[in-house]
């Protein structure tokens, strides 16, 4: 079950904690992986760790032209693109009263507009081949909101609406489009918190711990697999029970 042998997958933000875990999990299931991100050295290190079936495809998705070029590069390197994982994202947290237009626009550009452009470009080949998987990494805050993250919450909620619209457009072509909405995952970002802060966070999670990148990666493997072929337009919440949606 859940094998991805011979499939090609592009993972954006693969130099990060969640993206790296998704890349490793896909690779372990037999997929050819395209590793994208802005940090070339981290991508190269991951590619070296994985060995064969790994391609480094650097891209800065803040550049509107980068998305289309990235899909072309992925198709060039791997022959075609079966699975797109929109994982890259950034935050510019601050209370709305202090939020600059630039903070809003940067987050919307990278976290929502870039995924749309990547989907649009990837779908051309998928529609032709009558197969494909698109998985976007949303967030619990897209459903619940979070103070200081009006921009990020809007972008992540936007991914859900976009994915549901795309899911309906391409369902007849055997392509599924889904969202994974992680809760609090232990990454470099949460490592910066104090022990007390981490404990307070864990106390809000029924399953009693922060999530691991691997928890998200397992959900991504599932949605990418043939076994998930009857699931589209869905949001899979991976949050330890913190929000039961």
């Amino acid at each position: 079950m859940f094998r991805l042998d011979g499939r090609t997958a592009l993972i954006t933000g693969a130099s990060g904690g969640i993206g790296g875990a998704i890349a490793r999990a896909f690779h372990a299931q037999g997929a050819v992986v395209g590793l994208s991100g802005t940090r070339r050295e981290a991508l190269a290190a991951l590619a070296e760790e994985l060995g064969d079936r790994a391609h480094v495809l650097p891209a800065d998705l803040a550049d509107p032209a980068a998305a289309e070029a990235l899909i072309a590069a992925a198709e060039g390197a791997m022959g075609r693109l079966d699975i797109l994982v929109n994982n890259a994202g950034l935050t510019r947290d601050t209370l709305a009263l202090r939020m600059k237009d630039e903070d809003w626009e940067t987050v919307l550009a990278v976290d929502l507009s870039a995924p749309f452009r990547l989907c649009r470009a990837a779908l051309k080949g998928m529609v032709k081949r009558r197969a494909g998987r698109i998985i976007s990494i949303g967030s619990i805050v897209g459903a619940t909101g979070n103070p200081g993250q009006a921009n990020y919450a809007a972008a992540k909620a936007g991914l859900v609406g976009m994915s549901k619209a795309l899911a309906q457009e391409v369902a007849a072509r055997g392509i599924t489009v889904n969202v994974i909405a992680p809760g609090f995952i232990a990454t470099a970002m949460t490592d910066a918190l104090s022990e007390d802060q981490r404990a307070a966070l864990a106390a809000r999670i029924p399953l009693g711990r922060l999530g691991r990148p691997e928890d998200v990666a397992a959900a991504a493997v599932y949605l990418a697999s043939d076994e998930a072929g009857w699931i589209t337009g869905a949001v899979l919440h991976v949050n330890g029970g913190m929000a039961m949606l």
Partner: protein, 82 residues
């Protein structure tokens, strides 16, 4: 072969390939949706295939009016003559 004849031939080839229909069904008056079983995504794919094949751009308002094989041929012939 005249340009129009060549364009007609290529348009029909694209339609046959994309929609997987019998060549004999692809008459000039055939409607993509009503006669050839296309859905709305098929029509978008056809327009994109025409754009690629003939090196032209078909804006959305023009694309909406291309509902039959003849519509496509006429539009492309006109664009190529311009």
């Amino acid at each position: 072969m005249t340009d129009t004849a060549e364009i007609t031939k290529q348009v029909k080839e694209i339609v046959v390939e994309h929609l997987g229909v019998e060549e004999s069904k692809v008459t000039e008056n055939a409607s993509f949706i009503d006669d050839l079983g296309a859905d709305s995504l098929d029509t978008v794919e056809l327009v994109m295939a025409f754009e690629e094949k003939f090196g032209i751009e078909i804006p959305d308002d023009a694309a909406e009016k291309i509902t039959t094989v003849k519509d496509a041929i006429d539009y492309i012939v006109k664009q190529k003559a311009a």
